[in-house]
Amino acid sequence: MEKSDVRSLYLLAAFLVCAYSLPFLIGIQFGTVRADEQWFAYLATVVFAGILQGGVYAMFAVGLTLIFGVMRIINAAHGEMVMMGAYLTWVAFFYLGVDPLLALVFTLPIAFLLGVALQKVLLNAVVGQPELTALLVTFGLGLTMIYVAELIFTTDFRTIPYAPQTVQVTRTIAVGQNKLISFVMAVSISAAVYLFLKFSRLGKAIRATALNAEVAMVCGINVQRIYLVTTGIAVALAVAGGALVSIQFGFNPETGVVYTLQAFAIVILGGRGHYVGALIGGLMLAVLENLVSLMIPNGTAAVELAAYGLMIFVLLIRPGGLMGVKEA
């Protein structure tokens, strides 16, 4: 590690400490921090719920980071793919009467194929182009998805009532059953993808391509096929994320934008293209968001600011993120 590298890591750590203490300081200012037993129970619940939520964030952020790592493309439609996953689940639940988790069995292959098609039709043409091209293409795709969704589903907020009971985890911490289930699902799916990337031939080829596409090509890896698989997996992860989001929160066609930005923030925080980084980043963002919403009045706006703020400061302090991925 070079000296400047170590220094930026310390700076980043210092920044994160500040970022996490800020909600407490503001909370003290506004009197939302009470330091009694009940409040500590809230705090514990919020942190625990944050971790659960972070697992889901991390999962769909991995999709974004995979595409970015392998092709250097920012998929500005990633959040819309999450939104698509939510609607697919909703349709399966209300019209076909399929259990949201069971629905994954057929939504994920569909999503994978959609990803492959997306890669063939659009993304192959923008690999290696200036960033604006990819940004515009995927943004246009996102817009199209939003408006098609509005045409079909209107802008009404939808929810899926699923496993609404609360579970008493410890004496003080109680969370929704749906949150626990989502977390378990997200962790299993993330772990499966991780094992796939780590140990399978194809997974290794994907990682090799992310490190250096040219070298991978020389080593006989069919880079075109890697791109197809990568985008397939990425879209599948987004759709899985959508399914897990849909059983916890309301959604409408425009909610995707928020997920895109959260995923950006997570990818930047963890280090682009870095799998474990995305997992850590996901947990950190979700916990921070929950702390903010617990302690800062005018919650939603402040929660959004948390993601943007985290993203921008990490970019400025250490563009490689926690994992110190070197600038391309």
Binding site: R72, G140, T144, P319
Partner: protein
């Protein structure tokens, strides 16, 4: 470029100015506002092009400056009783200050990182404006005292557009401009050849922030009501980028042509196909970016109608 070409181009611009100046009496209210908004998009696309086309730093959050301009005008007029024209000067100055303050750290980032950081900056600015309700009235937005202003705003926008075109033209045919190009092509090599990239990028960024702020101010006064989602709308940034790309980014004429074409096309589809137009727009973005990233000017250059480069 030979002097006579500059003279010809300036005369062309003057002719355009005269035509647009005498036009309003012949225009319906609707057409007047249509021309005004077309001019506004010329301003936006040309300005975006200075930092992103000439200098190669893709600003994916340029709407921030437009929004700042709109809010400066609205707050000063509605809450402090200023004359709206004088607020435009403040809007321009504020945009330059913000551009330098943000640009100094953010312009160190490259490629997609800069693009994302600017996207975050714009969204962050929107959230701050929403939260800071003692100044901005938050999510409620700000209304202006209702007045008939279509002629005033038309002429104001005309003046701003002419200024923007002139500035872009001067930048685009000067060594300042090709030094920006050099930064776009290879920043490291440019620095080795004596170009203080940090200073040039900041100058380009400030310049590209100024006119959108003024346009935002005029627009706010024209529509008489603004709120954060409408003036910090991501799609305004997209429009700037897409218009530049459609005409040909990194040129002077490209963004002008792109803005006129795209805004007209949008207006036509919007009027005729109110539901389908948004979907069509999304698809249109995809098609332009996918199939003609070099824009119309690229076709013209390939066929030898237009010379390569900005300086000849």
């Amino acid at each position: 470029m030979a002097t006579h070409e500059h003279v010809r181009n300036v005369l062309l611009l003057a002719a355009l100015a005269v035509v647009l100046a005498v036009l309003p009496p012949a225009l319906s209210v609707y057409l007047k506002s249509f021309v005004m908004f077309t001019m506004m998009y010329v301003v936006l696309a040309l300005s975006w092009n200075i930092i992103s086309g000439f200098t190669g730093y893709t600003s994916f959050g340029h709407v921030a400056f437009y929004g700042i301009g709109a809010y400066t005008c609205a707050v000063l007029v509605a809450d402090h009783g200023w004359h709206w024209i004088s607020t435009l000067v403040v809007a321009a100055a504020l945009a330059v200050v913000v551009a330098v303050a943000i640009g100094y750290p953010v312009l160190r980032l490259k490629g997609p990182y800069f693009a994302i950081a600017m996207l975050g900056t714009a969204e962050g600015t929107r959230v701050v404006v929403t939260v800071w309700d003692s100044l901005t009235h938050g999510g409620l937005g700000i209304s202006f005292p209702s007045v008939e202003n279509s002629l005033e705003t038309y002429y104001a926008m005309l003046v701003v557009m002419l200024m923007t075109i002139l500035v872009a033209y001067i930048v685009g045919h000067s060594r300042f401009g090709i030094r920006l190009n050099a930064i776009r092509e290879d920043e490291g090599a440019a620095e080795v050849l004596g170009i203080n990239a940090t200073a040039y990028k900041l100058a380009a960024f400030a310049l590209s922030a100024m006119f959108p702020a003024v346009a935002g101010g005029i627009q706010a006064y024209k529509v008489l009501y603004i709120d954060p989602p409408s003036v910090f709308f991501v799609q305004i940034t997209i429009a700037m980028a897409l218009m530049s790309m459609l005409g040909g980014k990194g040129t002077v004429i490209g963004p002008v042509v792109g803005a006129v074409l795209l805004y007209s096309a949008q207006e036509l589809t919007w009027v005729n196909f109110p539901t389908a137009h948004l979907i069509a727009y999304g698809l249109f973005i995809i098609v332009i970016a996918r199939f003609m990233p070099r824009g119309l000017i690229g076709f013209a250059i390939d066929r030898g109608w237009v010379r390569k480069g900005m300086v000849h």
